[in-house]
């Protein structure tokens, strides 16, 4: 009997592991809080490569909570590594910056992307801390109001 239970547990764990590429936010009961108008408002804001935290604050002020993804061999989202972190993605959403690519055009492009990667790591870290400090455990409908 113990052996059967052990095998069942292993099979369940395997089934969970094999689902790791499917991020289905509905299973968390989460609705993304970043609206289209927030995206548009934030799109016209300039980016200051030297001030990722200030940029993140400005975007939060415009209700754009999205994290930034980096296209590498596969797409990577700095700061997101666990299943718990996936919930942050589901709440906040994700964006990519045009011009970022795994295949740089040349050295100047590569160097600028390098700066951007450092910026993105800090930007995402700010957003994740913001989520953990302010919103973890709250329902997504309340998020939009509670940061004001």
């Amino acid at each position: 009997m113990k052996k059967i239970i052990f095998i069942l547990i292993i099979q369940i764990q395997f089934a969970i592991a094999s689902e790791e590429h499917t991020l289905n936010c509905s299973t968390f009961g989460i609705k993304e809080v970043t609206s289209k108008i927030a995206v548009l408002k934030a799109s016209v804001l300039p980016i200051d490569l030297d001030s990722p935290e200030q940029d993140a604050k400005k975007r939060i002020g415009h209700e754009d909570f999205r994290l930034i993804a980096i296209p590498e061999l596969t797409i990577r989202i700095p700061g997101i590594s666990s299943q718990e972190d996936y919930k942050i993605l589901c709440y906040f959403g994700v964006k990519q910056i045009d011009g970022m690519t795994h295949a740089a055009e040349d050295l100047p492009h590569l160097k600028l992307m390098g700066k951007f990667k450092t910026y993105i790591s800090k930007y995402n870290q700010y957003m994740i801390e913001f989520y953990r400090n302010e919103f973890k455990g709250k329902k997504s409908e309340k998020i939009k109001d509670s940061h004001k």
Partner: protein, 182 residues
């Protein structure tokens, strides 16, 4: 890997280990740091991957290796263990982690698969030698209803040229299919 190290490798100012060469000096395998050393196992892995691409990778694989053999002065593979895979079109330097733990959904089996060194090397060579992009948009013109000449509706379609070409190579090696970059 920090930004300045990546930049110094790619602009060729970094100090690298002694080179171990393959294919009559057309491929130089090195690591970052004068005292580091490319192991025999790593060299074998790179060599086997390139042989697989050439011998089992179909026309895409042959095209890639032919281009690799034609690069004046050869191409340098800079190995690392920090998940850094970087190059740019026309570059003769490629930073690569051939033991990458990165995964993709293998559509041939519908299961998660770790990048093999062969897929990773074929992918990076596709960028460097054949200037293929990971993802891009192509415009497709749908003809007008009367079937005549001229533009009808323009459709923007996403495609993944490097991934598609690499899938072509891998079909004869392990049959894995990534299909698109995203």
């Amino acid at each position: 890997m920090d930004e300045s190290t990546v930049n110094s490798v790619m602009d060729k100012t970094a100090t690298l280990s002694e080179s171990k060469d393959l294919f009559d000096g057309q491929v130089h395998v090195r690591k970052i740091g004068e005292s580091s050393k490319v192991t025999d196992a790593e060299l074998k892995k790179v060599k086997n991957s390139l042989v697989n691409i050439r011998d089992k990778g179909g026309s895409n694989g042959k095209e890639l290796i032919a281009k690799l053999m034609s690069v004046e002065g050869g191409t340098t593979f800079v190995l690392n263990d920090l998940d850094e895979n970087t190059t740019f079109p026309g570059s003769d330097v490629i930073l690569m982690d051939i033991n990458s733990a990165r995964t993709f959904k293998n559509l041939a089996t519908n299961k998660t698969k770790v990048f093999s060194s062969t897929r990773l090397i074929a992918h990076e060579l596709g960028h460097a030698l054949l200037r293929r992009e990971d993802a891009g948009f192509r415009m497709i013109s749908i003809p007008p209803p009367d079937g005549g000449f001229g533009f009808g509706q323009i459709k923007r379609e996403m495609y993944s040229p490097n991934v598609e070409a690499t899938d072509g190579i891998m079909s004869g090696i392990n049959g894995s299919i990534r299909r698109d970059y995203n």
